[in-house]
Amino acid sequence: MNPLVLWFHKLGSPPYFYRLAGRLLPWLWGLGLISLAVGLYGGLVLAPSDYQQSDAFRIIYVHVPSAWMSLFIYAFMAVNGFIALIWRIKLSETLAMASAPIGAAFTFICLATGSIWGKPMWGTWWTWDARLTSELVLLFLYFGVMGLYQAIEDRRQASRAAAFLALVGIVNLPIVHFSVNWWNTLHQGSTVRLFGPSLIDSRMLWPLLVMAVATKFLFAASLLSRARVDLLELEAGKDWARQVALADGDAA
């Protein structure tokens, strides 16, 4: 077999993944926290204040990375859900279901910080504009996926049903992202571009990018630790899970 395919097969085996994730986790947490510290320092201290918004603009360093993560995680969840539905790979099921609460957390942060930011900038906590609304719908989609997953007894059937729902809900992603272009709204259009010149000062930009990287690491770390626990729970009947539990019990 092709070594890549072989590695993929190995990765899909829960005990292997459990061990691998356990080894990766400290690194992910470490990198995440370091880049978080750098990003926060850059954003809160080094970046100059905005000529229009004064220091309030610094909310951008939590708002925008969380917003990006809310979309990114949904896409991640849907892709894993797709794999789970087609190939019935247990690891994908676990990853999809483990990412839902993290995505919901980032969506919540985006909504909360956005509305805190809106108060000084727009004079209101909340308006019913397309981006805000579709982001709220995104939160409900996350809740729906989590609720459906909780509601079904059989874990594997539950994750397949919830993955299906996640796939159906993916139509909302482009709406969130392009809403500012499609409808004219209060919310800011795209200012950060990967390709072509960005529209903001580079001294303001780099902490934002660092924060974006930091949230990715934090997501990866949280995802892996959730997936590990979920695999333990799913595989409770298996030998390796018992060994893990007993080893841990002796250590504790």
């Binding site: 059989d154 594997r156 799913l234 409770a236 009947g237 298996k238």
Partner: protein, 220 residues
């Protein structure tokens, strides 16, 4: 699995290394067995031993976790399946609001009609003459079960999967089920039925029914 199958006639139903896991716990172990035309097999097992689950896997409602099911030598696919298979589960699949006749007409529309029999005939032969137009909910549990049995008579399926067909029936009803099974076997059909050990034996079982215990240990 090891028993050589006669090459000329593939068995009506064959299970090869069939297993089902729920939440990763085995519900029934790897099972291999076959049913040929004319076979009636009684499946026994204690509460929760997986009888209902096995029937669902055999009918295609649940995907097996391991192994495969062959119908007439071909692997079971969801499409064009139930021309071969009729499942009668704990839930009868009949509507309480409709009459026996309406229920049977719907079943025929869905599953087709065996030649030479009408819904009226079928109702008569399960002892429901005169109840053709009474809504099912006004019938007793045993009479409802008889309507479901009439459906088996009408729909052209060679393989019957019956989950506890004797439950809820009084003695007369039990005899009826045995008569239907006998007829079906004579016509070249096959049936796999489940029952709680204690019950099925009690009525004078007709000779022609071959009983075989399907157990993980006893797998043929």
């Amino acid at each position: 699995m090891n028993s050589p199958t006669p090459p000329e006639t593939p068995p009506l139903l064959q299970a090869r290394g069939l297993a089902y896991l729920r939440n990763d716990e085995p519900i029934f172990g790897p099972l291999s067995f076959r049913l040929d035309a004319g076979d009636v097999v009684l499946m026994e097992g204690d509460n929760g031993s997986g009888k209902t689950t096995l029937l669902k896997v055999l009918s295609g409602l649940l995907p097996p976790s391991a192994g495969e099911v062959l119908l007439n030598g071909e692997p079971l696919t969801l499409a064009r399946l139930s021309h071969q298979v009729a499942l009668l589960g704990h839930l009868l699949g009949v509507k309480g609001e409709l009459s026996p006749l309406q229920n049977l007409r719907f079943a025929i529309g869905l599953g087709g009609l065996r030649p030479g029999i009408t819904p009226h005939h079928a109702l008569k032969s399960v002892g429901l003459e005169g109840y053709e137009d009474v809504p099912l909910r006004q019938l007793s549990a045993g009479q409802k079960k008889r309507v479901a049995l009439a459906r088996l008579l009408l729909v052209p399926a060679a393989l019957w999967l019956l989950d506890e067909p004797y439950a809820n029936l009084d003695r007369e009803g039990i005899t009826l089920v045995n008569r239907l099974l006998e007829l079906h076997a004579l016509r070249g059909g096959a049936a796999l039925i489940t029952s709680h050990g204690a019950y099925a034996y009690t009525s004078g079982t007709p000779r022609r029914i071959r009983l075989a215990a399907v157990d993980p240990e006893l797998a043929a």
